[in-house]
Symmetry: C2
Subunit: 156 residues, 2 copies
């Protein structure tokens, strides 16, 4: 499969996903706007997690932060995105579609870049928590470290 072929396919898939998201929003009574669509495209293409400011930087057109916050709130209410909190005072958001199953992050303590981890056997622990009498149990697991690029920078 050629590189070109692959990216064409990807673009098509993206367009479909954006369409689906816009459809869901329309059913909930929200209109389709250029900025809203641009936000959806960014989140669908790059997945995140992104802070509100990072989203603003990626926007192809100028967009007020308030607008981004308000759209983020709508996406969250529609369960299209999920919020993460890495403890540095910024909320971040990532696309929550089925293609991005439950997963965890590793956060570089230096550059704050995040990577995904496809490991999770914490579900077993959740059972223990339920046995303590809690309902609606969920969890959040974040790893912190220094990534390889920052290690190289540091020693340089």
């Amino acid at each position: 499969m050629s590189q070109t072929h692959q990216s064409t396919e990807r673009l098509l898939q993206l367009a479909q996903q954006v369409e689906a998201a816009i459809g869901q929003l329309r059913e909930a009574g929200y209109k389709n706007t250029r900025k809203r669509q641009a936000l959806l495209e960014i989140l669908l293409r790059e997945h995140g997690p992104f802070s509100v400011e990072e989203l603003q930087q990626r926007m192809p057109i100028e967009c007020d932060l308030a607008t981004i916050y308000r759209n983020i709130a709508i996406f969250e209410e529609q369960k299209m995105i999920t919020a993460c909190d890495f403890g540095d005072g910024l909320k971040r958001y990532e696309w929550a579609g089925e293609e991005h199953e439950h997963h965890h992050h590793i956060i570089c303590q230096q550059c704050r870049k995040t990577d995904h981890l496809d490991l999770c056997f914490v579900g077993e622990l959740e059972k223990l928590v339920r046995e303590k009498g809690y309902t609606a149990v969920s969890h959040r697991l974040e790893f912190y470290g220094i990534c390889q690029r920052c290690q190289r920078k540091r020693s340089a």
Copy 2:
């Protein structure tokens, strides 16, 4: 062991721990003040995690929030307390003494009260993260749910 006896012992232990903490602070060049000592007592007695406002409420004497923030910063620098972030926009702090080993929390989504969990086999996962090339790896694991008291309130 009678209740009275036990609490006398506990009080003695507390006094010793406060003394030790004050000593450590003195060596680092910090003076002993009533408010500082009161903060240490609260953290040592109740362990936390507490938000800054919760600490203020527990203070036996009036104390400005700025004072609490500044002392918190000193305690943190001295590694006497550790910060937690449960993703609700408030930082919380808990005593980090040896008697409180590495542990995790379960947070009630309704009343925000936290409980400790003495389970952790996530250390194994940390190894996998190191194998991805990260150094200085640590993690944070929080469980969320609805506690029994809130479940009763809800159905009432």
